[in-house]
Symmetry: C2
Subunit: 443 residues, 2 copies
């Protein structure tokens, strides 16, 4: 009988091993993709692309057991060579090739110059050829940082006693109702794709006290802007036994602080490639919705059109105001109007036209919506009735409250938007692997 | 200006603090839900349910500043009391109550006796009242273990140089085609819900070398069995520069070993509640598909009906065989027939009727499908043609290979099934938070 064990004999080295001081002069084998070939006559530089970065390999005629002719970009190789310090090489080290083995070859020349520092092409072209354009190491780095954000979210919340959950994306009813739902046929029953895990995470907060989920959400909105997607990844949390929605803002601030430290510690290579300096987050200012509107109206001489709504331009100005006056990239805007929030939001007892809720703006763009939720069964029924909403499809959600629920609140963070702002991009599609928008359903 | 910092002043204790030796005799405040009330006359036991477990609180008439009368199960409380060793209490410690504050109250008595050791009700009832039935701590524990499995998957793969990705669930085309696709209208274009992130993770393996994703997948299969779901969570990985599909089996074995250690280390409470003894995984036997069929046919005297298909009963018997003959809960079955695998599977050059692929069976049930994939553009086009498949909707996927791809392979693990087997459950719905099946679209 053959057996599989969990450890494989390692036949090749990784970049870390190659960069160790004691590797100098040693012969190592590595695999990688041919990122670029630069011929200087008798010397040929072959740049290998690996998950950890680029590695300069050098072929010198007469010193290697193979012919370099015929080697093509985008081939994948196993190479053998001698490690040599070389301050001019990208890693400070190069591999003097003694042998190569071609593992695979492309069928056509690359349509994009992925080895250039800056990929010189349109967003459209980049998205159409995603699996090629991301071979550019700077394009790729944005998604490593995105990974770091999600890791930071999970690791921080685990440390705070949260439980990770997986809730269904096909349901009988959307969390927020309305017209922006994708509809489908589910074995001859009408169904929708969930706009948010909201109702499910509330149902689970009575079980686990603190829950989170990182998963896709779906919005059939007909927006065609630089910041909207019709499918995105939402970082969601819900926490019980809060004293107010400030507890939720505290949790988010803690997550952001933890994540910036994690990125600085483990993602330095990517931050360097993209020349990103991380925002310093000691504390985040919090301002009421109505106050924020007044402040920017006064400073930027802009009349308030509607006291119960926030225009995108106002969001931008609020961001600008707190950048200028408080040197902060982030600002919590609190007490959003009740009309602008879903039925489950808790109204402010001091003035029920507003809610105990918040948005977090990052350089003038909303990246989070959160707040305290209604936990009292009677209050919830009253709110539904006041809004003229039916209980249909909400039976099990409402039963959760009927059978007792702790005070709680939570939030949802748009992962692609947060990554976009961190990377200084101006279009959310730049930080989405495979965006879904009004016109884009492929690749 | 108000500021939010990332750290909150802690006004209440958690269970860990309460259980510390130095807490004996101290007065602490905690929150929790009333799990059970047992009145013994002048002494009343109030069992609080918290995310970490149950805590016995004791009310003695005349010793507390409040009246216990009127306190109801499923209320949520902030309690104050003196910590006292008590070997008969669940945690070895109890809290002698001095004060309580009611945070919320239910509107109706609980429909299920959640405080019983074993929740004595049907699966149907449990699923219909998910947010109540999971308040039973043994029901809840299964989903903590599920969390541990996902954590183990991610943490192990991070340590192995994998990058986490997020791929779209709405697409123009399914990874495997066929009739088991949920279809929807995407802004007047036909779209489907992805059956698997397969095509996307392959497209990204040429970028990051090693990728993984943990997310929902959708199968419109009309199966109504104990092991099928129409939406489930798939743990997916794809890795480049493999020498063969054995490298993928090695990675899975490493993940399982790591995860069992993680569960033993961090989830001992839940394992204890459910009386689970974790499988020991030193090595996993691997047997060819055709050999496995022959072995069970001989041992259990069962004629082979179709040499190119595996019936569920045969899977069960293969599991039984390796349990009996090799004392192993797990077995890799390799070299599945080509007809049973999707177009992207690599055929075995030694016999193209079979593929370089595997399933992992856990006590006779398939929990993983994996294998080596075709990486050569020409070979891929040939396979499509041989199957009479169109290239439509596959253009960008195919371009990935045209522009060069390393040899690679991967796998997908059904999270709910793995949890089900680990917990010794016989229905996958027992280990699915909110199952979606032929009849179940709610809650």
């Amino acid at each position: 009988m053959k057996y599989v064990t969990g450890t494989a004999e390692r036949k090749t080295a990784d970049l870390e091993e190659l960069l160790r001081e004691e590797s100098e002069g040693k012969t190592l084998r590595l695999w990688g993709a041919v990122h670029a070939i630069r011929s200087m006559g008798e010397v040929v530089f072959v740049v290998l692309r690996r998950r950890e970065g680029l590695l300069q390999c050098v072929y010198e005629e007469g010193k290697a057991a193979f012919a370099i002719k015929g080697l093509r970009e985008a081939s994948t190789l196993e190479v053998e060579g001698v490690v040599k310090r070389e301050p001019r090489a990208p890693q400070g080290v190069e591999l003097r090739l003694t042998d190569i083995r071609v593992l695979s070859e492309p069928a056509a020349p690359l349509p994009l110059a992925v080895s250039k520092w800056k990929l010189d092409t349109s967003l459209e072209a980049k998205l159409n050829m995603r699996s090629v354009s991301l071979r550019n190491v700077r394009e790729r780095a944005k998604f490593k940082l995105q990974e770091g954000i999600v890791r930071g979210f999970r690791d921080y919340l685990y440390s705070q006693g949260f439980t990770e959950i997986h809730t269904p994306k096909i349901g009988a009813r959307g969390a927020e109702g309305g017209s922006n739902l994708f509809r489908l046929d589910y074995f001859h029953r009408p169904a929708v794709l969930e706009q948010s895990p909201q109702l499910y995470k509330q149902m689970m907060v009575g079980v686990f006290d603190r829950v989170f989920e990182t998963g896709p959400v779906f919005r059939a909105e007909k927006h065609n802007t630089k910041r909207h997607l019709n499918e995105y990844t939402s970082l969601d949390l819900e926490m019980a036994y809060i004293e107010g929605f400030a507890d939720v803002m505290t949790m988010e601030t803690g997550f952001l602080q933890y994540t910036m430290e994690l990125l600085a510690k483990d993602y330095g290579r990517e931050l360097g490639l993209l020349e990103i300096s991380l925002p310093k987050i000691r504390e985040i200012p919090a301002v009421r919705f109505d106050t924020a509107k007044k402040l920017v109206s006064e400073k930027y001489r802009r009349p308030i059109k509607n006291p119960f709504d926030l225009e995108p331009e106002e969001e931008v100005l609020i961001g600008k105001y707190f950048q200028e006056e408080y040197d902060s990239d982030f600002v919590f805007v609190t007490h959003y109007p009740s009309k602008k929030r879903p039925f489950y939001a808790m109204d402010d007892p001091a003035d029920p036209r507003f809610t105990l809720s918040f948005d977090l703006l990052y350089r003038g763009m909303e990246i989070t919506t959160g707040g305290q939720r209604i936990h009292d069964y009677g209050m919830l029924l009253e709110k539904l009735e006041k809004r003229g909403m039916t209980r249909e499809g909400l039976e099990q959600y409402l039963d959760t409250f009927k059978y007792g629920m702790p005070p709680h609140g939570g939030l949802g963070i748009g992962l692609e938007r947060l990554t976009m702002r961190l990377c200084g991009e101006d279009n959310v599609r730049e930080t989405t692997l495979f965006p879904r928008d009004l016109s884009r359903l492929e690749p």
